[in-house]
Amino acid sequence: MDNTNTLIALFHESTDTAEAIDELHTLGIEDEKMVVITGVPYPKGALGRQLEWLTLPYIVLAGAVAGFLFGLFLAVITPHLYRLDIGGHPPVGFPPAAIIIFVFTMMATIVSTFLGVLWEMNFPRFGPAPYHRLVTAGHLAVLLEYPITLDSQVRQVLESHKAHHIGEPERMAL
């Protein structure tokens, strides 16, 4: 990647960030080439970027189904593996089975949600990554990768929107 360059720029304020991003777009730098790092979750599109599509819901759904089946196994199959009759109850009764199946479904849902989201964010990831401590202090950081040819315009755009700490992002172990 010798013909591209990566920069990090910090902003004090979201409007500037948004405008800067727009102008960078006009410079022909795609969204994928930019990463915005913030200490606060900004609402959708606040920074003028469209969001990627998530597989999380499907992971959750799959988990839920798995849980349902496991619950089904425990509540409906196991009573027949070692048949013991109890006080006039059938080996499998609807209400108890319903409870067990429900609970295991929910358990799987929760767990798969958690694991799913970690997977999507491919967490945990402690390796060195471009980041700036000031982010949590309220600054917005824009990480962008662009052809060296655009270097001057990019810097000019950033400065024009009161960006500071422009430069090579330091890759710190997180």
């Binding site: 990463v35 915005v36 790092i37 913030t38 200490g39 606060v40 979750p41 900004y42 609402p43 959708k44 920074l47 970027r49 969001l51 990627e52 998530l54 999380l56 819901p57 959750v60 425990l74 509540a75 196991t78 009573p79 593996l81 070692y82 013991l84 109890i86 109850h89 009764g93 108890p96 089975a97 409870i99 067990i100 429900f102 609970v103 295991f104 929910m106 358990m107 849902t109 929760i110 767990v111 949600t113 958690f114 799913g116 989201v117 970690l118 999507e120 964010m121 967490f123 945990p124 990831r125 402690f126 390796g127 990554a129 980041y131 401590r133 982010v135 949590t136 202090a137 309220g138 997180l174």
Partner: protein, 476 residues
């Protein structure tokens, strides 16, 4: 209330002077890093008082553990149980803790769904309470076993006995439901914690840095991460609600499925759930007040929060009375001999003191909470909410122990006296809860910083006549 929020006296004097103004624009004048500092600083300050508290709580816990060992070694006979009172203080406290655990999810999940903005500063405290209360509750199913070293026979796994547990037993439902709820609430707590761990990571070094770094899982705060986190939390808040409803219903069915008079009731599930919410919210209020005082978080936990919390408790309280009455009138009217006997025991018999304690401790707070003055004055609110929990504990004791002393054959009636073993073990769980919570508050940012910051994004001021009114932007 000197240590209460600085605005307190002001609207005590002239309440109509734009009270909303300062409050809604929470920390408007603060920079993000100032917020961070404000949240983190109290965590690092562990004074002598703190260590003394930890020492005392630790001592109680150790004593309780000794008592538990004693119980296991000598047998269940060292507790005060007998025939026919086969369940007593342990199960009572178990139900109580499960109840406490409910407000946490109630607050954070339900309010998150409803986008009630005032929840933001208190969610984490609530979720932590849920997790720890459940940990304590989870001990009792073990403690009350006659052969605790065989507890794993309840776990469903293929084993050399070819045996699977009996999934028709409410105790099995208990086991899985509580386990699920524990997992759910702790993951929920943790997920919302990740960004703040990253924040703490950036502000600390030494062992704390190492800890936070690990817990932050490498969070940077890219848009994608925020987006995914939001989705996950959204799913969680939906999924956790049916769980928390099911857990206490199942606990209630431990009793309701038997033919034991007064247990055998269809209203038990909702009655227990609402009772759980009532006691849980009260416990939350008490805890927040104490933490707020000890950690100087007046800026974050403001009287407005206690006001709204108070209102919730009030509503839950009224609902509890309603369910209690709905159950009671049927039993009273049905006039079944044994039930009549039990009601008589409660209203004018040996159980009367407990019954009236329960009723007064559960009803008086409802009346008190009607007054904003009480809801917004920490000390008064603390007293009120503690009273509620005294009432709820008594209520559980009456249901579990009171009912078991009577049954259909008068020849078999009995009575019960707790022993030092039981009391020590119960004390152990209370101390254990306090200890976990204290340590937690010093290690984990008690206020969800990122959520507060997020909240700030949504407000602008708008002038209406001569009034500056905060207006929230509807966004997600």
């Amino acid at each position: 209330m000197s240590e209460a929020s600085p605005n307190q006296p002001k609207h005590a004097n002239h309440p109509d002077q734009m009270p909303e103004f300062e409050e809604r624009l929470l920390l408007a004048e603060r920079k993000d890093w100032e917020i961070n500092e404000a949240v983190l600083q109290p965590m690092f300050k562990t004074g002598r008082g703190f260590w003394i508290l930890v020492a005392i709580l630790g001592a109680i816990v150790l004593w309780g553990l000794y008592a538990w060992g004693y119980l296991i070694y000598w047998g269940m006979g060292t507790s005060g149980k007998n025939r026919p009172v086969y369940w007593a203080l342990f199960i009572t406290t178990f139900v109580f803790w499960v109840g406490i655990s409910h407000a946490g999810t109630m607050i954070s999940a339900v309010l998150r769904l409803l986008k009630a903005d005032w929840r933001r500063p208190i969610t984490r405290g609530a979720e932590a309470m849920t997790a720890f209360a459940l940990l304590m509750a989870g001990l009792y199913p073990l403690i009350h076993l006659g052969r605790v070293w065989k507890f794993y026979w309840m776990i469903p796994y293929p084993n050399n006995r070819f045996m699977w547990p009996n999934f028709q037993s409410p105790l099995m439902w208990d086991l899985v439901a509580i386990f699920t709820y524990l997992i759910g609430s702790s993951l929920y707590l943790y997920l919302a914690l990740i960004p703040d761990m990253a924040m703490a990571r950036d502000y600390t070094d030494g062992w704390r840095f190492k800890l936070y770094r690990v817990l932050a899982l490498g969070w940077r705060g890219t848009e994608a991460e925020w987006h995914k986190l939001h989705r996950a939390l959204g799913i969680f808040s939906v999924a956790i609600i049916p769980i928390f409803l099911s857990v206490h219903s199942i606990v209630s069915w431990d009793f309701a499925v038997t033919v034991q008079p007064r247990w055998h009731s269809t209203i038990f599930a909702p009655y227990f759930v609402i009772g759980a919410v009532y006691s849980g919210l009260s416990a939350l209020a008490s805890i927040l007040i104490i933490v707020r005082r000890s950690m100087r978080l007046q800026e974050f936990l403001r009287s407005e929060h206690f006001d709204s919390l108070g209102k919730l408790v009030l509503v839950a309280g009224m609902a509890w009375v309603y369910f209690w009455f709905a159950g009671f009138i049927v039993e009273w009217y049905g006039n079944e001999p044994i039930v009549r006997e039990l009601i008589h025991e409660e209203v004018s018999g040996r159980l009367a003191p407990f019954f009236y304690l329960q009723m007064s401790a559960n009803v008086i707070p409802i009346i008190l909470l009607v007054f904003k003055r009480i809801r917004t004055t920490p000390v008064l609110l603390l007293g009120t909410t503690l009273l509620v929990n005294v009432g709820m504990f008594t209520e559980r004791a009456l249901i579990v122990i009171g009912s078991l002393q009577r049954n259909d054959l008068p020849f078999n009636w009995g009575s019960y006296r707790p022993t030092w073993v039981e009391i020590s073990i119960v004390a152990m769980t209370f101390a254990g809860f306090a200890l976990l919570y204290t340590l937690f508050s010093r290690i984990i940012p008690f206020v969800p910083v990122w959520e507060i910051k997020e909240g700030r994004l949504r407000y602008t001021l708008r002038r209406i006549g001569r009034l500056l009114v905060p207006t929230a932007a509807e966004m997600e």
